[in-house]
Symmetry: C2
Subunit: 231 residues, 2 copies
DNA sequence: TATCAATTTTGATATTTATCATATGGTATA
DNA sequence: TATACCATATGATAAATATCAAAATTGATA
């Protein structure tokens, strides 16, 4: 983790518009003063399950995973989060402690804003609060939808789904480097590591994808879509 | 569905305190004037997937199910909702249309408050908005936690989990009438109807529970808990 | 009451998925 | 350099779960 100062002023931040656009100038300026900018490397924890929630977080750049460690020691990945996903909204306003860990899976830059300041602004500024409510709704709808989709698919369908997810939602290209291990894919779509590997190999043999370590090249997107939909 | 007027004034509503307690008197009075009270019988739809969201809803009494119909026609039950679960919060503030259906599974009473009025009050009253944010966080944390729990269990564990859920969270007694069919249990914990029935029969044979149609009597709660935890 | 449809039930069987074993290559570490 | 530890990979097998079929029961309805 590295403290940085990439953005000089919230006023010029490209992501401002999605959340802070309607904030009163004086409030935005207070946010700007209080905020801390941090850069994380892949694998670095941003928060750990059980940590006290003290900041409102804001992913500016990069990719994160949210995961929960279960009583039996097994891990489940709740979601992959991009900028604008506002994953920090998940439980900031209700819980004192995080019920999940957040880990960078790519070089990631986050802004940390003191939580009590945020709450103060919310209390004062209902329009901003409504914006937060909308964003929180969206985050939840997104996570739930993907869970429901994954649940109804068999293993081949899940692998196809997640390959297309990285393709369409994250990298917007047919060739990309997986930001997660096979084991993490397994934790994300509820299957065993061996089966993740096995089915990826199947897809390779069927010439639907090419694999070089973490590098994935989607050759037959339509076929992958079919497998995701009906497989 | 029946229009009723069980409560004369929001001021005297027992559930007011959980959400509307800090509302300004004049706002509470506007809510009181605008609100519509409705009673639903088991099986009646309150909203349907695809309906336009026009109201903020508030479960006063009863039990609901949230479910989503998937593209392939299969149903998944997202959650069971009690009073105070504020299930209406799930996507009211972001989406124009419901992404799920809500159905009564017991006699249920709901208050409907015009959504534009609610938004107006939120914009004006940040403290109320913060309360909503907290509640929304709680709803989501609850739903996610139960999903994660269910996901890591085998079928016997899931059945034990759901029996204990009704026992501990809903009815607070060891003897209760299931508010859902075997098929709906299957849709809720991601398994097949036949296996729900089969495992319930197993538990009956092992004298862990007694079954008379919808009536469940939990005989060995500890054993059920063990199966839920480790089975 | 008679009839139809849906739900519950059980058994047999097929399919899917997990588990176990083993091997290989890479990477960090002493 | 040697060692240990992961991640990836593949095969064989076991276990879990779904599917198919058929019957009994219940509930709704004409």
């Amino acid at each position: 983790m590295k403290l940085i100062r990439d953005i000089n002023d919230c006023k010029t931040c490209a992501y401002k518009s999605y959340l802070f656009s309607n904030l009163q100038p004086e409030d935005l300026s207070r946010v700007n003063i209080s905020r801390i900018e941090k850069e994380f490397l892949p694998g670095e924890h941003i928060v750990r399950q059980g940590d006290k929630i003290a900041s409102f977080m804001y992913l500016r750049k990069g990719l994160l995973k949210l995961s929960r460690e279960m009583e039996d020691g097994k891990n489940q990945i709740i979601s992959i989060a991009r900028p604008l996903d506002f994953i920090g909204l998940l439980s900031v306003f209700s819980e004192s402690y995080y019920h999940f860990s957040i880990t960078a899976i790519e070089n990631s830059t986050l802004c940390f804003i003191d939580l009590s300041l945020m709450k103060e602004i919310i209390r004062k500024d209902g329009i901003f609060a409504l914006k937060l409510l909308e964003n929180m709704s969206n985050v939840n709808e997104m996570i739930m939808s993907s869970w429901l989709s994954i649940n109804e698919k068999n293993l081949r369908g899940r692998i196809a789904y997640i390959l297309l997810f990285f393709c369409n939602e994250i990298y917007h290209t047919e060739e990309y480097s997986l930001p997660v291990s096979r084991k993490e894919i397994a934790e994300l779509i509820h299957m065993r590591t061996e089966n993740v590997i096995r089915i990826l190999s199947e897809f390779r043999k069927d010439k639907i994808i090419e694999i070089e370590g973490k590098l994935i090249r989607v050759l037959e997107k339509d076929k992958l879509q079919q497998i995701a939909d009906f497989g």
